[in-house]
Each structure stands twice: as C-alpha cells, then as structure tokens.
Symmetry: D2
Subunit: 336 residues, 4 copies
C-alpha cells in the first residue's frame, strides 16, 4: 500500500502499516523537502514526489526519489490518502483511473467514498467496499463511545460539547493565542458525521475552539434508554472495550497535559495516545442520565482506524474486533 | 459605604459606587502597597490599612493612610467585602460586631449571608436583608439568563457546559499554559449555586478550565416547557432585558477576543463588559430545545450586582428593574 | 484631517486627533461594516467607504455613509494612513493626486515618505515635510530610548533582543499557541529602521516571537561612550523624559500582565499604555555597560507620534518637546 | 545505582541508565502513587518508597514496593538525586551517612557537591570526585556552546538573553497564560553558574519567562577573541561536536514547535531532544561578533550529562569525549 501525503496523519499511518504483519508499505509521497522527508528516508520508506514537487529539489539535498505518483500507483493495491482537506476529492479520480482502492480521511465529505468507517462502529457494513472514509478525530471519538453505550443501554439523546484544540503542536501560524472562539454552526457538523456510522443516533454537538495544541475534550450528556445498574457498570463497559483508556484518580492524570505526559512515558510512536481517554472520576450516572468527559488526541486517534479500514476493504479480517486486535497488538496498544 | 479588599472586584465596585448618585464611598482597604493603592489615592479614595498591613509601609512611599479597619467601620453603614475567597467568612464577625450591613462575593459559601442575590433574579426577596451575597460570575451569568427564559417559556431542564478562563489577566502565576483541565466535580457547584436564586430550577452544569484570561464561555442547552414562536422571539427577549448585549453577525465580534476589543472601544472603566454577551448567530431553537452560547467577563459582571445589592439592603429601590436602571445609567451601560 | 483605515492604529489616532485643541477630525474610512464602524458612528465620526466597500452594505445596517474617499479627500489637508501594511504605498499616489499631505505607518518602507519620524528623535528634521512615516512600534520604543541615552552619555553600541507578541488581542487567527519562533533575519530590520531616525547609531537587533498578545519586551544591552555616575542617574534621565513610565518595585507591576492591568486602572482610551515602560529594578549599570528591560504596547505607542507628525508637517509647534507637551496633555499622559 | 525522585528528570535518568551497558539500575523512589509509578513498575524498575510516602498506599493499588530508602541505599554505590529543588541539600546528609556517591541537579546550589559538572566542559576536572552537580538545563546549554567556541576562537565577552518556558508540559498549575515576565535579577544567575564550569568566562545573562511549555531559546551575542574564517566554519565546529543538532533551512524546523515535532518523529524516549538545537539560518558572524540562537529542551538536556557524571565519579571513562560517545550511542543520539 501507499501513503499519499506524509504529514501529521500520513506519517503515522505509514509507521502503523510498517508494523502490521499483513501489510507492506511500498512508498510515501511528499511535495517538498523537510525534516519529515529526511526522516522517512532514514526509516527506509521509498519517497515519491507528488503534486507540484520536483524530484531535483529533493535529490539536491541528498534525498533519494523513487519516482512519481504514477510510478507508485503502479506498484500498490490501495492508497491511504492523507492529503490536506478537500484535496482527497480530487485525488479520488487518480485512484479510480489507476484501478486502486483507497482510504480517505475525515476532512473530506462523506461522498468521497463508498462509506464512512469506524472500526468499532460499522466494520461489517464496510467489508468489501473499494473506497472508505475514516471519519475525523472528533467523530471517531464519539463513534467509539456510541459503540459502547448504544448496544448496552440504548441512546435516547446525546448532547456533546466539543472543546477543540486551536492548532496541532507544529502548526505555529494558527491561533488563537488568548481567547475562546464559539463555532456558530449550531449544531456542529460532528453530529451528522457520527450518523454516517450510526444512522439512527440522536446526537447534537456544539463546538468551541480554545488556545491549546494537545487534545480535544468532549463534555458528554447522554440520556440512555435503559438505566445502567450503576456508574461502575458503565466504566467497566468502557474498560472492556479496546481503544479506551480510563485513568484512576490515584494516577493523577488530571487533564490533557498529564494525559499526554503519560503518552510520552508509555513511548509509542510520536508519543501518541490513540485511545479515547476517560477518567473514572469524570463520569457520573444519574438514573438514565450519563455525564462524562473524554479526551481525544487529534493527531493519532484515527491511525488504527486507517489500518482497520484497509482490512475491511480487502476482507482480511472476519469482523471489527479481530481486526482491532491485530492492529492494536502490532501498534503496542494494551488489549482491554 | 466602604470596600474591604481593593483587588479585581473591589476596585471596580469602588469606582461603581463613586458613580452612583445615591451612594458615597467613604474608603477602601489595602494590606500592602501596590500600583493599585497608588491609583486609589490619585482618585481620591481614602485608604485604610487592613489585615497584617502596617500604615508605615504605605506612608514611607507617599501613600496617605486614613486609618485602620476600625476607623473605617465607624464611618460607614455598609461594607462590600471583596476580600479573597473564604476570608469574607471571617470578616463577617467584624461587620456584625460593628453593627454593619454587608455585601459578600460568590467565593464565599451561601451561609455567609442572609441570602444570595442577583438583581434580575431575586431582588424582591432580598429587600431589607442585612447581609447579602452576590453570586459568582458564572452563577450571575446563568441566573440572568434564567431570569429571561423561565418567566417566558418555563425551563424544563438546563444543561450548561462552562468553559472557564484559567486566570485573570494579571494573575500571571496561574496556568494552565497549554491544556484543558476537566473539573471532576460532576455536576459542578454552579448548578446548586443558581438554585440559591431560583430554588426550583432544574439545571446541571459541567466545567473545564482552558488557557485564556479574557472571559468564560457557557454552552447552554435548555429544554423549555413551552416552545417559543421562533428563535427571533428568544433573541428579542434577551435584547429587551438589561445587562445583555447581543452581537449581530455583521459586527464580527466572533469570539471572546473580539468582544473584549469591543469593550475597549466602548471605553467603560477598566474596559469592562458587564453584560452577558450573546451572539445572534450563536442561538438555535429546535422546538422546545434552545441552544445558545454566552460569554461572561469574570472580572466585571458582578459589579453592577453589588450596587443593586446595596440598594436591596437599604430598600432604596422599589424593585430590581428600578435599581438596575439607576445603576446602569450611572455606569454608562446602554438601556435595552 | 482624515484617518484612512479604521483598525487598531486608525481608531486610536482618530480619537487622539479628536482630543487635540488644534486639529479637526473630518472623517474616517472603513471597507466593511463591523462593531468598530458602529462605534465610530456613535462617536460622531463621519464614515467614508474605502476600497472595495459599498455604501449600501453599511446603510442597510443603519450605518450612515458620508461619502467616498474622493469626497473625503476634498475636505481635508492631511491624511493619516493606517491601512494594512504595504497598502500605504499604493495610497500615496491617491494622496499626491489630491494634493494632500500624509502620515504613514511603520509597516511601510521608508521610501513611502519624505522622512521617517519620531517625536523625541528627529522632530526638527521633519518640520515642513509633506509626507512623513511614523516608525513602527518597536522602532519607536528604541528611538525614544536612544533619544535619552545618546545625548547624555553617547552610545558606543546597542544590542537589543526583541521579544515580540505573536498577535494583537483581537487577531485570533494568528499564532503561535505554544512555542517560540526565532526571526532568522539577523540582525532584524529594526536596527536599520532606528537609523532612519538616528543615522549614526550603532545598534543591532534580534527578534523572536512568543505566544502573547499584550506587549513586546526589549532586552537591551547598551555600551555607552561615557560612564553615567550611577544607575539612579540613568533612571532619572528616563523619568525626566516624556513618554516614559517607570515602575517602582513596590508597585508590583512585575511583568506585562501587570503593566496592562495598570493601564486598565488608569483608564485612558482603549486601556492603552502609550509610554515606554521601564522598571526601576529592571535596569543595571556596570561601568559603561547598561542593561535594561523595556515593554512596548504595540497597539498604542505610535499614536501620540502620529499627532506630533501632523504638527511637524504643518510646522505648528516650534520643536518636538512643545508638540509632545501639547499632545500628551490632550491625551491625559502625565508630564514627566 | 539508584534514582531518588522519579519525576521529570528522574524518570529520564532511570531509562538512560537502563540503556547503558556499564550501569545497573537497582531502584527508583516515589513518595506517592501516580501513573508514573505504575509505568515504572511496568518497566520492571523496583520501586522504593521515599519521604512521607507509605508502602501501604502503593500496595493497595497493586504497586509492589521493594522497600524504603534505607533498603535501597544498602544495595547501591551511587544515587542520582532528582528530588525537587533544594531537597537535594538535605538528602546529601543521607547519602554521606550511607557512604554513597551522588549526582545532584542544577536546582541545588553549587555547594551541594564537590564540583559542578558538564561533560563537554570539565569532565577531566571532575573525575574521581564523590559528589557532582550537573548544572541546570540553561547552564548546560551555555556550557556546551562555550566548549565549542572558547577553545576555537576564545570568548572576549558573551551576552545571552534566555527566553524561558513558563512551565513544563505537565505543570498545569503554573503560568503565565498570557504575558512576558522579566527576571529582575540582572544579570541572571545563569552566568555565574556557567563559571562553575568555565571559571574565566566573561558572560552575562538576562532572562524572561514566556507562556510556552516546549523549550527555552537563547539569543546569543558572543564577541570572540579571534575572528573565525566565516560563519560556515562556526557552524561546522558546532556540527562536529556531539550533543549539537543543526537544522538546515530546507528542513523547515523553524521554531520550537517544529523542533519538538522532529523529536517526536525521531522517537527517542519521551520524544526528547537532548541536544542543543541550532539553526544554520540562525547564526551570523560579523568579524569577531557572533550572533546565534539555540533552543534547549529543558526536560531532557541534562539526562546524558547525568550519565557522564556517574562515569566521571567512578573514573570509568578516560575523558569526556569517550564517555559522551558511550552515553550517546546507548541513548540513540547520532554521533557528529
């Protein structure tokens, strides 16, 4: 397979593919030289020049170029498109012309692919499709949580306030530096996006942007259809599910700075935190009303989902749980 | 009257009292010299030394000291206590011993006073009490909004997510610098605090802290008992109420940075924004479900409420609306 | 006179002109409606539509339009150009065609005007010119300090590190949110820019950008030609000069957050701080080596300079000190 | 050896020791349970309870306790003291009483140890001492650079402005959120601290604190005694020295956010950046005057120095370069 676009998501997917026993990374693409291109080279990933990039610009700097997009497409079965938002739509034509399957990211509209995808949410429905779209980081976080709550107790209605990070850590041109920016799209697009995975889910979402780079935080109020026996039962349901990490109060992971510190201690690639993060102390059940916080690492949460999307396309796993188990073991994520 | 504690709230209340036609500021208190003490002097506010402060420390620096707390208490009828959180509780004994009436701030527990106070919310019930507590900035913001929605359409249930500023602009020792900190008190104390004003209101609140100094933002979902005719009717109800400022989309006051820029343009004292801030584009009605953002300037929103609380104590205004009109005219706030 | 461009600088210059006894504000220009346009209207400033703006867009919203640029130009003698960086260069042709004098801002290149201007630095040399350019905020801060040090003790060499705010308070799209960005222009353009005022000054400057909105801070090391008698003599030289504000240690204005808090207490327009800010404790003299910090409020420091530049053009003041005294009294700045 | 205090520095030193072929980590100490204690356990580091901590508090949570400080001290030859600032001074008595050698951190005063240490700077002078103090992160960064410049061209005088991060990433209680805080200690303590390594170096340092968590940045102006042949020669001298990482312009590592992004790509423990970071474009030579930026990762830069300090104490390496080569190879740092 190939990764088209070696940025925040692309470089992570490339590493993740390289770790899978049943996948082979044939190449990655860049449009201009950077420390990331150099590092890809050092890791042995063949580098193909995309877009307006010129091979000579790379070669002058000692970066070996394996070819162009066309060369790359001739060698692979599937492309993970991790190009900037909205560029994927244009790329789709290239993939179709080359007879390739493809995985797109959540920055594209749902129409870019045959279906939107979340491993816990709708793996079965996506098996055998040629083109899948992994939903965005916030939507993935909500869909994973819905995959726990809906089957167990039914969701009557879900209200989520999304407190979004202003920029990724290395996006130093973006603000805000000091202030809170409400998103006047009411409800925000995340609710409809979750329904690309769970079509019948009643969910409305509201978003604000704040001056931080680390993680998003979701403040959730879910009215369930059936009252769980207690908050511990809900916590345990999350704990038993892959791709959730719950922190106990004594661990003192009290906010997103401490959660990302934990991630650095743990030491997976890029110090990532690919799980939905919940806190035992940050969940309260009041009859059928469930309140809980969850934190979402915007840079990495969709990485394992991209891997599972490839398996869904090629029907290489019988169901979502099997694919998740393979993916997570290869990535070093602890099974539940 | 006197202001005990000349910090963020105290200095604003002192200026606000000085602007009222029916009140006289007799003095303010400080425990240590600072540019704020100097400025109080320049404005002609007699300075009394409180706590562990020593008059000599001030006089050495050319700051004239009018006396001690005891001297001040002998000259006034009422004290606005703007001392640090929890100190008010201890001060209450001093005020009682001196036969004084007092207004406390929301950092104190409700038991510090005979009643908790909000001008739009429960002025009538507070008339004639000797000791009142102005509820905190976030609670004041919620109570004002409740005073609009509850009489008009009834509140079935209110969910509010409070996105709190990490520190005031000059509190440079406090963080966080980069991160989101959930408040694990679920629901947060703000809901019960609103019920000190509206005892029957069904409200649950959740809070997070973010790295900004300017304003809090509330994300509200209110299920009303009766459906309003449309969102414009709700906007108009807010517009017709004092202490609300609604921004039209074309004004481009798109977030808290722009709102505080507007406040600087407007030029009231300290560049304050004493109103609840709503945005026309930031309110959506879906049957009985109302979603809206409001921004709260934590430093100043309670200032007019302190003035009204004094009037309630002395029964100097027949009702809340009359007191509000007097206060706001003196402060330069535009009537609705 | 007219203000062309009613943004951060323009709105301040408009207010400052309105306060001067010897100047008349005929109108301001805007290209699109905003809360700032509305506020200009409320203050009674006639509003002219500039650039691609359409009068109808304003009038629909109840904002009265007095005319176009052409109409405005027919009524004034001088324009303060406060349009975005580099646009002033194009505007110059319009001013010339209309036979107008003009004051430009420091975002333009020196060639835009007949001379670059700083009131303490080179008022005399600028008298009678038709077109002046007020140097940028950082350059103004350095030029003012040079106007104190150079005449008194001579400057052998000046090294300044400029720690720049990332964005103005309302520029919420700009970062960085978390990080320090060195400016690889070594030395930065500020040194040469100071030499447009003091041609012989040996100064080299280095700049970094940090995540704050309040003020710039300059870290200065000046090797003087003659050793001052002591640090107190240097402090006193700054104190005796207009447009400097020195904070004593006991005032506890320990950083830019506290300085801007002081500015809000003081209550000049926009809570501005138009003086160079120094700290008594932030200056050290070691023989001929002088080290000192100064903070610069990027939004307002050039405002009084624009007023003086107008007086220089029309030769309405015999020298810089006289103009400064008139300007500062009208603005409410304390004389030294 | 043992690590006393398993926080930001301690956990890194523990991992670094575990990677060295000639050292054995016998245990680490914690005073209270946390996610870090749990992770230490998962890595197999025996956990000893220090200070006021109680073994039962750990064991209840499933964290196995190997013993107390006393037990630990009986098993080791040397302790790396990574306890909070100023606690090391008290700990020294314990180490002496137990007959142990020790390495302290730069938060302690120089008197805590027999000598202050920097691997490039004064390894030879420290060989065989019983107690060493690794200088602080900023001082280590300056000392390393001095070890390059002084032998090659001589340092006439060095002026450094240190732009310090306000807090480490997980220190979410510390500010400032928005503002620049000058350090009124002029010159700052860093200059004298560098002279504990290079006693004759003429250096004066000035510091400010800014709202970022990632790295410090030093703005250096060094007047050399002898003019280098050109800036490329200086860059090459840095490149040839271990523990320096220079970024080329084409790598687009333009500020501290991008440098730490590179560190996450590289993937050493904790996504650390243990080298002094310089930029090719961020160095300018003007005769004998050298200007350059360097960025310092405050959390990790002293980690390899602690390893070398242990080798110096036990005379396990003939000189600094040999020890550095061993340390860096084990840590995965690229040789120059």
């Amino acid at each position: 397979m190939a990764v088209n676009g070696y940025g925040t998501i692309g470089k992570r997917v490339a590493d993740a593919v390289a770790l899978q026993p049943d996948m082979e990374l044939v190449g990655i693409t860049k449009t201009r030289p950077s420390f990331e291109a150099r590092h890809a080279q050092e890791k042995g990933y063949p580098l193909y020049v995309a877009g307006e990039g010129k091979p000579a610009d790379f070669e002058t700097l000692g970066l070996k170029v394996a070819g162009t997009l066309k060369d790359l497409f001739a060698k692979v079965d599937v492309v993970v498109d991790a190009s900037p938002d909205k560029v994927g739509k244009e790329n789709r034509r290239l993939y179709e012309a080359a007879g390739l399957r493809a995985v797109f990211q959540g920055g594209e509209k749902p129409e870019v692919a045959d279906a939107s995808f979340n491993a816990l949410g709708n793996f079965a429905a996506c098996r055998g499709k040629r083109m899948l779209r992994v939903v965005s980081c916030n939507t993935t976080g909500l869909a994973r949580a819905a995959a726990v709550l809906d089957p167990n107790w039914g969701v009557d209605h879900w209200d989520a306030t999304l407190i979004r990070r202003g920029a990724d850590p290395a996006e130093s041109k973006k603000g805000p530096i000091n202030g809170i920016l409400p998103n006047f799209q009411l409800p925000s697009h995340h609710g409809p996006d979750v329904r690309t995975i769970f079509p019948d889910l009643s969910i409305s979402t509201t978003a604000v942007v704040v001056p931080t780079t680390l993680m998003h935080v979701h403040v959730n109020h879910v009215r369930l259809k059936r009252a769980p026996p207690g908050s511990e039962a809900v916590l345990e349901a999350f704990r038993r599910t892959p791709r959730f990490r719950l922190f106990a109060a004594w661990e003192h992971a009290d906010g997103t700075p401490q959660v990302m510190e934990y991630a650095r201690d743990r030491g997976l690639g890029f110090s990532d935190m690919m799980e939905n993060v919940l806190w035992d102390a940050g969940l309260r059940l009041d009859g059928r009303d469930l309140y809980f916080f969850q934190a979402i690492h915007q840079e990495s949460i969709v990485v394992p989902e991209n891997i599972d999307a490839i398996r869904a396309i090629f029907e290489r796993a019988p169901d979502g749980r099997s694919s998740i188990a393979m993916t997570d073991q290869a990535l070093g994520l602890r099974p539940p």
